[in-house]
């Protein structure tokens, strides 16, 4: 994955120099360990700052919404599926994009690494299969597969579904992945257990809305939590309001979420809110055989009516 | 420690519809506790937060003059959640008033000077307060010539029409009322945009002349070059800003522009001060 940096810089530099795009969106090196900053390059010189490693978990499709320029965009599997969804939902036009596809073996979860280290991590060095985290008086090595973001460990679309260039040959997709073990565990709970589980899960929420803002799908000009006439949801920390925000947001992403994990990555208090979106993703798969963002030619199930749509829930 | 978030309870004493599109209503409030009226003592140019339990608060310029006793008057535009609800309220309803807030037009500095008031649309509320204050027998001799240039889109959109007509008849104030356009053949006053009328009718600039400008951003944008052309120095052009506010007391941070709080260091600023501040209003 580290060799991708060279290729990304080369492609971006070429696209900008030839005037094929107005800007290239990718990542540049972060200022603290295990973080990188989304960056746009408008000149070949700026393109030389682009890089790629296993800490590029933020979904760059988030930066495409309603832009008018011609854009080169670095996209891993999940990002590319969100680009497809954006195209279907008229948030960007295919002709505007040069998709620089990145076959991805997964992003690392910095929280997992931090929990396993005895102190503050001051440096992380990556190699092809693992990383070493160093701090004051310790140095610990990790296999990448042991510290992947949860969604990455279950990923079955590692290769971009659309691309104009690829930085490397496609990687093998994971087979026989049980994507919904955690969803089934919650489905098996009775209502009291489930209530308590959700209560615990959402108790640290401070309504910062980082999850919503990091999500490429959340682009409503006025989010439902911000409406005032009428006001649907309170703005404080009343538990019903917190639950309403998370549940409804998951519903608004139903059939569109690609499980990129940007929401969990962005959350400052470490809430695993993917449990809600995964449930709806499973429902879409079970009811409609649908996976989001695989092809710009196919309309999503909530957009179309088919005579044989499941309707046994209509009583 | 007095709680600055606690409103004085008031009752709606009178409601009148000001404009032909019914979007502006003037409310007269009477304090439930008479002692609160003393605590609410204000100067022309200040504003107050009108508080409606269950809906919220809105910052509105005080339209009544400190010389008018027994009530506080506000003219409210129906624009959002609180103002729409306020428009549906009736005489006798109870609500709250917090204030007075903000600074006021620089009355001390303007003593002995000519005052030119330029207002547009429904920003005229604190200007009404100012005019009544200046025309009061106790105050009139403190000021030299008073000119008022006030315009609205049509005659039916002018505020306080009866009072405008009264002032027009006086000889101690020069009124230049104007509308953008009208099909009324009996319209006796000017027709033209406020900046154009300002250019024609405003007195020449000088060390003895202050201009108070209060209006929608578009009016200000075109009036300011006219005043520049007439030579008004920027420290003698007084403006009153609007901004989104909540606490009104310089704490919640919402109305902050540059290092000022519009609710506390303003809403009255000289143009000289505004030139140092980012255009985020």
């Amino acid at each position: 994955m580290l060799s991708y940096t060279e290729k990304i810089r080369e492609i971006a530099g070429r696209l900008l120099a030839s005037g094929a795009v107005d800007m290239v969106i990718g990542f540049r090196q972060g200022t603290i360990p295990m973080m990188n900053e989304p960056h746009f390059a408008k000149t070949p010189a700026e393109a030389a700052k682009l890089m790629w490693d296993s800490h590029c978990g933020i979904n760059l499709a988030n930066y495409l919404t309603d832009r008018k320029e011609r854009i080169g965009i670095v996209a891993k599997g999940c990002d590319s599926r969100n680009i497809v969804t954006h195209i279907i939902e008229n948030k960007i036009k295919r002709e505007q994009l040069v998709v620089i596809g990145v076959p991805c073996r997964g992003m690392v979860d910095k929280r997992k690494i931090a929990m396993k280290c005895p102190g503050e991590i001051t440096e992380v060095i990556e190699n092809e299969t693992g990383l070493t985290a160093k701090g004051n008086g310790f140095s610990q090595a990790f296999e990448k597969k042991d510290v992947l973001q949860h969604n990455c460990s279950l990923c079955i679309h590692r290769n971009p579904v659309i691309h104009d260039e690829m930085v490397a040959p496609p990687v093998e997709e994971q087979k026989d992945v049980d994507r919904y073990a955690d969803v089934r565990a919650v489905e098996a709970m009775n209502p009291e257990q489930r209530w308590k589980y959700f209560e615990d899960l959402l108790s640290p929420c401070v309504r910062c809305h980082a999850c919503r803002n990091a999500c490429p799908l959340c682009y409503c000009p006025t989010c439902f939590v911000d409406e005032s006439r009428p006001q649907w949801v309170g703005k404080g920390q009343d538990a019903s309001d917190v639950r309403t925000f998370h549940f409804l947001r998951a519903y608004h992403c139903a059939g569109r979420c690609t499980d990129c994990g940007a929401c969990e990555r962005a959350c400052p208090v470490g809430i695993n809110m993917r449990v809600f979106t995964k449930k709806l993703e499973k429902d879409c798969l079970d009811l409609f055989g649908w996976e989001a963002g695989l092809s710009p030619e196919v309309r999503p199930p909530l957009d179309v009516y088919r005579p044989n749509d499941p309707n046994d829930f209509i009583k | 420690m007095r709680n600055p978030y606690l409103p004085y309870p008031v009752r709606i004493d009178a409601i009148s519809v000001e404009t032909e599109d019914k979007n502006l209503k003037t409310f007269k409030f009477v304090f439930l506790n008479p002692a609160d009226e003393q605590k609410f003592a204000y100067k022309a140019g200040q504003f107050a937060e009108l508080s409606v339990a269950g809906k919220g608060e809105i910052p509105i310029g005080i339209a009544s003059s400190p010389t008018e006793k027994g009530f506080a008057m506000f003219t409210v535009n129906k624009v959002g959640l609180v103002s729409s609800f306020l428009h549906s309220m009736k005489v006798g309803d109870v609500m709250g008033l917090r204030g007075p807030m903000g600074n006021w037009y620089p009355w001390e500095r303007m003593e002995g000077k000519n005052v030119v008031i330029i207002g547009g649309g429904f920003a005229f509320t604190t200007l009404r307060s100012s005019i009544i204050y200046m025309l009061h027998p106790d105050n009139r001799k403190k000021f030299k010539d008073i000119h008022v240039i006030y315009g609205a889109r049509t005659p039916g959109m002018l505020l306080y029409r009866e009072e405008l007509a009264d002032w027009e008849r006086r000889d101690d104030i020069h009124m230049h009322i104007t509308v953008d356009g009208t099909s009324d053949p009996n319209w006796k006053y000017n027709v033209g945009f406020v900046p154009a009328i300002t250019e024609k009718k405003a007195p020449p600039a000088g060390n003895d002349t202050y201009a108070i400008v209060c209006g929608p951003p578009i009016m200000i944008k075109f009036t300011q070059p006219v005043l520049d052309k007439l030579g008004y120095p920027h420290d003698k052009i007084i403006m009153s800003l609007e901004n989104r506010m909540k606490c009104g007391i310089g704490m919640c941070g919402r109305c902050n522009i540059g290092k000022e709080f519009v609710c506390k260091d303003g809403p009255v600023f000289t143009l000289e001060q505004l030139n140092q501040t980012p255009r985020e209003y």
Partner: protein
Amino acid sequence: MKTIKIEKSQWASGLEKASKAFRLIGPVKEKEFHSFKPLTNGAQPDLTCLNTRLSPKSLVYPQSEVMFNYSLDEGREDHHQMKEAAKDYSPKAVIGIRPCDAKAFALVRMNFDTPDYQDPYWLRAYESTTWVGLGCTSPCSSCFCTSAGCGPYHEEGLDVLLADAGDHYLAKILTEKGATFIDAAGWKAAAPKDADKALAAMRAAAEAKITSFVQTDRLKALPNNDLYSASFWEDVSFACINCGTCTYSCPTCWCFDIQDETRGTSGVRMKNWDSCMYPLFTLHGTGHNPRGTKLHRVRQRFMHKLKYFVDKYDKGIQCVGCGRCVRLCPVNIDIRRVCNMMNGFAASGEACAIE
């Protein structure tokens, strides 16, 4: 004010005694990070915590606070009138707050305690709290307190400063309130004669460990309008997702919203944290939004913290270098980088693309 010695063997029993007169609050580990929580039933503050995930500002200034109650029931005499909500301002003691967070309160106080208005909710909560701080022996790599107006052993805003000296704490009592707390805990042992020297040495050692700095010397003199129209804001703001994490975790951010919430015929008027990062923050009723673009809002945050505040109060930047925004920003926008860009700014021909 004197310095005393607290043997670590006396620590828990002292806290137990103090808990008769004070509600104790300290850092407690929950899941993967620490938060300030009430210490009930003999729970001990976890003083190994480097710093809490979110700042302790919620102890004085909760995320959601009821200011007033009201009733819409016209059968009641006081209908539609605001009634002050009952509050508990009995003495509290916060154990283990870091000097950066304590200084942050002193900074924020300038906003809530002014000659014209005082915010009773913030002030009463602040003044009824005794701040027992802990000096940092191993500052984090993202801490830049020494160039942000404080430091790992800074005393501003604290009533007692504890320094960990191995088998005991040295406790420097800084105020009357601090002395009252120490008395309530019954800690009396005199400190060794060279205690002040030892403290100074610990302070110097800690300050030497700070590896992160910001330059702020030119900020005051730089013209407002020049900084505002600098061309680097586009680059700074691109990655921002306007989420509010920085403002919520920051101990020196204080913006809030006032909202009424009604259920049936009774309701509350409450204060909630708000953030200049949200588009709604400056939206006028008419639909006009003076900070309608992301660039405007990102620029506002940094200009406010690093320039407007400097201009207004002349007490340095509105930042204590705690590093939380740096660690928590989901897209790694780094205030240290922006501060240095602003400080190093030299007006050139290029201006910002967005007005």
